[in-house]
Symmetry: C2
Subunit: 319 residues, 2 copies
């Protein structure tokens, strides 16, 4: 639920004049994306997403994000692509904020992901990884080991307020991951936030991937590990091994998984669980009381972490 | 900013099957309307608003609201109209809530209303009043005198927290209005919440009126008095008499204002100011601390009330 900036109609009309997309006929703030202000804008020529980048997004990262979307869309991946103004620039300014108009993508994200959704996701993720291979820009993953260290430092004093013993569990896990994190897997562009609300479907078809604002350069298979966390656990916390198997198998059909990546899966899945445990824990401890947007439960990811801690090999994921 | 209910894609698809509007291709929660959950939905046949009525809307009022929109749209007023399902019913149920699909209206509401906007508004408001004359249903205005009495009772103990002396000012004003409220003006359907965010424009054209969820049966000219409050004060509190004059004159061109209505304008404007002062004060005193949706400043309406208290006649509004 995110509209942080109101865009006066006059400023919007002036902004859109720089583009060759017709005139605005409606513009509504939409409840999508937590970091930025997003508007569904209709013009006389079509539908678009207008995004104003708010302070949580680092301005210097925007060329990476927008360039990546453009690169992937140009290679045929179904994802939003930035619209360039008449002067060739996609990244502009509106209401004192960096702003871009992005193509509109049809589809809806699945509130209750099915096995079929997971299977389709696997293929789309591999497609993204393959099409991203020749993208020239790099962006380090600031939510990997170094970022976790900072988050641990910033949450450890109060982590036990959320669950007794949580601080120690997190410290131990970080120590384990620092020792066991893989070194030599294939690196490339990953989405890094492929949760169900960022994957659109239309009927039996995956219609596209959105929200590339956590995308970065990291182990490709770490994206798979994040999706194991985001897609394959059921409401009550049970791991659905069928979903995992279908997802990984359909991924591997397009991009075969080397032995080293398969072997690293449990460690990477632990890392993925720790990453979301830490960011949720931080938000939980630092959100204003009574806030309208309630923070997500960090303990969901403690349970997921415990599952992965018991995984001896990729067999735990159905392979 | 309002999406209180998440609609699972499967339930949405099943819901839409009852209509003859094609298949859903996207559905996004929009930040419009405070009382209900609103979604901008696109189907293979067009764009629609899907509204789920949340608990602040009285279920028994829905036939009035939906019937009114249908009546007005059928008479050519530019406003949203409920879409009927194949069985003829517009009011249905989704996710355990009353729900309706409403036609989509192009346009944007003015963040900075101009004199021209006020002029166009006057005509559209008169058009609404005229076209509403033969609407059969009635709905008493529960935010008139009786409603104010309840709000005064529920805020008086803490009103002075917001501004010293506010409780007394409000009590005195209520006593004045109870004694001086007019009796015999023309009664009919009023919108009762024609704030700028409920009036859409496209270029130099008023493209429509939305959000009829406060509509009720009351003095027609009370709508004008509400608009004096909502449209004719500038940012720093100055009353823009040109805006008022243009608005009232263009209203009166379509529906001439009888002498009694003109004479009652200052009292009605005081009532309008008190109504929004009271509801804002109540929300101010009762919102959860740190809430994401910050309540609107009640004191804005105290200043407006003071302006109207000094108005000796309709001349204060430029007539």
């Amino acid at each position: 639920m995110a509209v942080y900036t109101e865009v006066p109609d006059g400023e919007l009309a002036a902004f859109v004049k720089a583009y060759d997309i017709g005139e605005v006929v409606s513009c509504k703030g939409i409840a999508e994306g937590v970091e930025n202000s997003n508007f569904l804008m209709r013009t006389t020529k079509g539908s678009y997403i207008l995004t104003l980048y708010e302070k949580r997004v680092n301005r210097s990262d925007l060329p990476f994000f927008l360039g990546l979307m453009e690169h992937l869309a140009a290679k045929g991946l179904s994802c939003p692509t930035p619209i360039k103004a008449r002067d060739g620039e996609a990244l502009r300014e509106l209401c004192g904020r960096p702003a871009a108009i992005i193509s509109f993508l049809e589809g809806m994200w699945p509130r209750r992901p099915t096995e079929r959704h997971c299977q389709l996701l696997g293929g789309a993720m591999a497609d993204l990884h393959i099409k991203g291979r020749d993208f020239a820009l790099k962006r380090p993953n600031n939510l990997s080991l170094a970022g976790w260290r900072t988050l641990v430092a910033n949450t450890k004093d109060r982590a036990d307020e959320v669950s007794p013993g949580l601080a120690d569990t997190i410290q131990d896990e970080l120590a384990f991951l620092e020792k066991n994190w893989p070194q030599d897997l294939e690196v490339g562009v990953i989405h890094a936030d492929l949760f169900p609300d960022n994957v659109f479907f239309l009927g039996d078809r995956l219609s596209g991937l959105i929200d590339f604002y956590f995308a970065c350069t990291d182990f490709l298979v770490y994206d798979v590990a994040i999706c194991l966390n985001a897609w394959c656990f059921e409401q009550k916390g049970e791991f659905n091994v069928t979903k995992a198997k279908l997802m990984i198998e359909s991924y591997a059909k397009l991009r075969p998984l080397p032995e080293a990546e398969l072997a690293a899966m449990p460690v990477l899945a632990r890392g993925g669980a720790l990453r979301f445990l830490l960011t949720r824990l931080y938000d939980w401890l630092n959100h204003p009381p009574g806030a309208f947007v309630s923070p997500k439960d960090p303990l969901e990811y403690l349970k997921k972490l415990r599952f992965h801690q018991q995984a001896k090999s990729v067999a735990a994921y159905g392979l």
